[in-house]
Amino acid sequence: MAKFVALLASGVAYGAILMLVSLGFVVLFKATGIVNFAQGDLVTLGAFVAFWAGSSLGLPILATYVVAIVGLFFCGVIIERIAYVPLRKRPPIVVVIATLAVSVMIEGLIELWQGSSPKNLPSPVGTAVWHVAGADIAMQRVVIVIVTAVVVTAVLVIFKTTSIGRQVRALASDGETAQLYGVRTRAVSVGAFGVSASLAALAGVLVAPLSAIDVTFGFALMVNSFSAVVLGGFVSLEGTAAAALSIGIIQQVVGGYFLPSYSDTLPLIVMFVVIAVRPQGLFGLRSSRL
C-alpha cells in the first residue's frame, strides 16, 4: 500500500510537470501553428538559469525562480524574433525545423555556459517529507502539484473566458479572418512564445530539485509530453491536460510495479498505441475519411 501511494504521488507530480510542458506546446501551436521543438530545451534552460541565479548571483531560491520564469519569457520573445518572424512567409514547417535547430544550439550553449556535469537545484521546501499512508512523499512533489493546479487552471480559464483567449482561439481557427476583425497577431504571437517559454521554465524549476539536472533532461521530458499532446489531438487544452496527468500516473505506477527499467518508455508506448488505434488522438477532430 505504501508503495502504491508513493508511486501514485510520483505519478501525479510527474503528470503535473508533463501538463505544464504540453500545455505550453499546445498554446503556442494554437496561437501560431508552430510545433516548437525547442520547448524541451527551454525547460532545461529554465532550470539552469535558476541554478546560475542561485550559485553565481547568490539569490534566494524563490527569487531564482522568478529570474528563470521572467528570463525565459524574454527568451521566448527572442526566439519569436529570430526563428519565427523572418520565416513568416515560409511554410510553418520551416519554422518547426528552425526550432529544432534552435534547440540544438541551446543545448550547445548551455553546455558551454555551465559545463556538462549534472547540477543540483535546491528546493524551496528543502528535503521535507510528508508521511501519508505509510509512504514518504517528498514535499517538493506536493509543491509541484499545487503550483501546477493553480497555473493550469489559470491558463484554461484565461483561454476560455478572456478577450486574449478568444483572440488566440480566433487566430487558431482562421488566421486571416481574425486579422480582419482586428486581432493583433503580432502581439498574440509574441505573447504566446513568451508564455509558453515561461511555462517551460516553471516546469524546469519545479522538477529540477527532484533529481540532478543535465543538459538533456528537458528534451526527454518534451518527448514524453508529446504523448499528452497527441492524445489531446493538438486541439483540446483540457484533453491535453487530462492526458498528461494520466500518462504521468501510468508511467510511475505501471512502470514502478511491472517494468521499472523501461518505465521511461511507457508514455511513448501509450502514444504509439493511441496513434495506431485512433490516429487523430482521443480528443482530436475526425478528418474527412480518406
Binding site: 518547426v96 540544438v104 511513448l268 490516429p279
Partner: protein, 376 residues
C-alpha cells in the same frame, strides 16, 4: 504528333533527349532519362578518384562512413522521398542492423559477414513491416511521431538487452569482414566493399525509378484519395517502401559496425537524427542522389571544423538554420536551377520536390482536414 518535337520538348521542360527514345517511344519521360549511364559514370569516377585523392587514415575513415550514410540516405529517400512518409526511426534501424550483424559475426566468425548483413536486413525489414502496417492508417504527422516513439523505445530496449547489444549497449571488437576468405582489413579495402554495396543499392533504386512502383508511390503521396479510387495499392506500396528503406538502414548500420569496429547506440542518437535533417536540406529529397550528396557534406563538416569540436552542436544548429533560410530546395536543387538558368533552359522545378513543400504536408493543421476532392 501535331507539335514539332523541339518546341514540344522545350514546353514540357524535359531536359534529356530521346537517344533511347524510339524503342520506348510511348512511355512516360522517366523511362527515357539516361539513368544507367549516370550510374556507371558516377561510380567509375568515385572508384578512380577517391583512392587517389583521399589519403590518410582519418579521411579514408570519413570516406567509408560517407558511403554507409549514403546507403541509409537512399533508404530514407524511399520512405520519405518516394512514399512521402516521414519516419524518425531510420537511425534506430541503423543501430539495429549494426547490432544484428555484429552479433552474428562475433559468434560465428568474420567470414559470416554476408549472413550478418542478411540478418540485419531481415530484422529491420520485419520490424518495419510490422510498424508500417500498424501505423498505415495514421496521417503523416502521426506516422512521424509514431516512428519517433518506436525509435526511442527501441533504443531503450537495445540498451537494456546487453546479451544482444553488449555491455553498456556497446559492442566492441568487431573484426574486419571476410567474404569467401578475402579479408577487408584496411580502410581502402573497406572502401571498395562499401562502394560496391552503395553501387548495388543505387542500381536497385534506379530500377525502382524506372518502374510502376515509382508511379504508385508518388500517386499515393500526392493524393491518396484519388490514387486509391483509381485502384493504386497505396498502403501496400507505402509499407513495402518503408520496409525496404529500413532494410537499407540496417545494411548501413552493419557496414558502419565493420568500418568502426564498434556499434554504439549513442552514435545513432539525436546528433545523427539532426544530421539526417542536414543531409536532406543540403542534398534535397527530389532524387535518390540528394541524400548521398547531403551525406558527403555532413561527413565533411567535422573535418572542416575540427578545431571547433566543442561547439559542434551549436555549429550544426546554426548550419541547419542557415541552410533552411537560404536553400529551401536543398543544395542539389539550387544547383540544378542554377545550371538550368546558365544554359537558358527552363529550370526543372518539380512541384512538391522542394523539401520544404514536402515537409509541409506532414505538419498537423489542428483544423478539420478539408479534402477538395471529396467536399461538396
Amino acid at each position: 504528333m501535331t507539335v514539332p518535337p523541339a518546341a514540344h520538348a522545350r514546353r514540357s521542360g524535359r531536359t534529356r533527349s530521346a537517344l533511347v527514345g524510339n524503342r520506348l517511344g510511348t512511355g512516360p519521360p522517366v523511362y527515357r532519362e539516361h539513368r544507367y549511364l549516370t550510374w556507371v559514370v558516377l561510380f567509375a569516377v568515385i572508384a578512380v578518384a577517391a583512392p587517389n585523392l583521399v589519403t590518410g587514415q582519418a579521411d579514408q575513415l570519413s570516406l567509408n562512413v560517407w558511403l554507409a550514410y549514403g546507403i541509409a540516405g537512399v533508404g530514407f529517400y524511399w520512405v520519405f522521398g518516394l512514399a512521402g512518409r516521414f519516419a524518425f526511426c531510420q537511425t534506430f534501424m541503423m543501430a539495429m542492423g549494426g547490432y544484428m550483424s555484429a552479433w552474428i559475426t562475433l559468434r560465428l566468425g568474420p567470414n559470416w559477414f554476408l549472413v550478418g548483413v542478411l540478418g540485419a536486413m531481415a530484422v529491420t525489414g520485419a520490424i518495419a513491416a510490422v510498424i508500417g502496417l500498424i501505423l498505415s492508417r495514421a496521417q503523416d504527422f502521426y506516422f512521424a511521431i509514431g516512428t519517433l516513439a518506436v525509435s526511442e523505445v527501441g533504443t531503450v530496449i537495445l540498451t537494456h538487452t546487453t546479451s544482444f547489444s553488449g555491455a553498456d549497449g556497446s559492442t566492441v571488437g568487431i573484426a574486419a569482414p571476410e567474404i569467401f576468405g578475402y579479408a577487408f582489413n584496411s580502410y581502402l579495402q573497406m572502401f571498395w566493399l562499401s562502394l560496391a554495396v552503395l553501387a548495388v543499392v543505387v542500381l536497385f533504386a534506379i530500377l525502382l525509378e524506372r518502374s510502376p512502383v515509382r508511379r504508385h508511390a508518388i500517386a499515393g503521396r500526392e493524393n491518396a484519395t484519388v490514387a486509391r479510387s483509381g485502384g493504386v495499392p497505396v498502403v501496400k506500396v507505402q509499407v513495402m517502401l518503408f520496409a525496404f528503406g529500413s532494410m537499407l538502414g540496417g545494411v548501413s548500420g552493419a557496414l558502419l559496425g565493420s568500418i568502426n569496429s564498434t556499434v554504439d547506440v549513442n552514435s545513432f542518437g539525436t546528433s545523427l537524427a539532426i544530421g539526417i535533417f542536414l543531409m536532406l536540406f543540403i542534398g534535397g529529397i527530389g532524387s535518390v542522389w540528394g541524400p548521398i550528396v547531403g551525406a558527403a557534406f555532413y561527413v565533411a563538416i567535422p573535418q572542416v571544423l575540427s578545431s571547433l569540436a566543442q561547439y559542434q552542436n551549436i555549429v550544426y544548429g546554426a548550419l541547419l538554420l542557415a541552410v533552411i533560410i537560404a536553400f529551401p530546395e536543398g543544395l542539389v536543387g539550387a544547383l540544378r536551377i542554377l545550371a538550368a538558368r546558365l544554359t537558358h533552359r527552363r529550370p526543372p522545378v518539380e512541384p512538391g520536390a522542394t523539401l520544404v513543400e514536402r515537409l509541409s504536408s506532414v505538419l498537423p493543421t489542428g483544423k478539420r482536414k478539408e479534402n477538395d476532392a471529396t467536399a461538396g
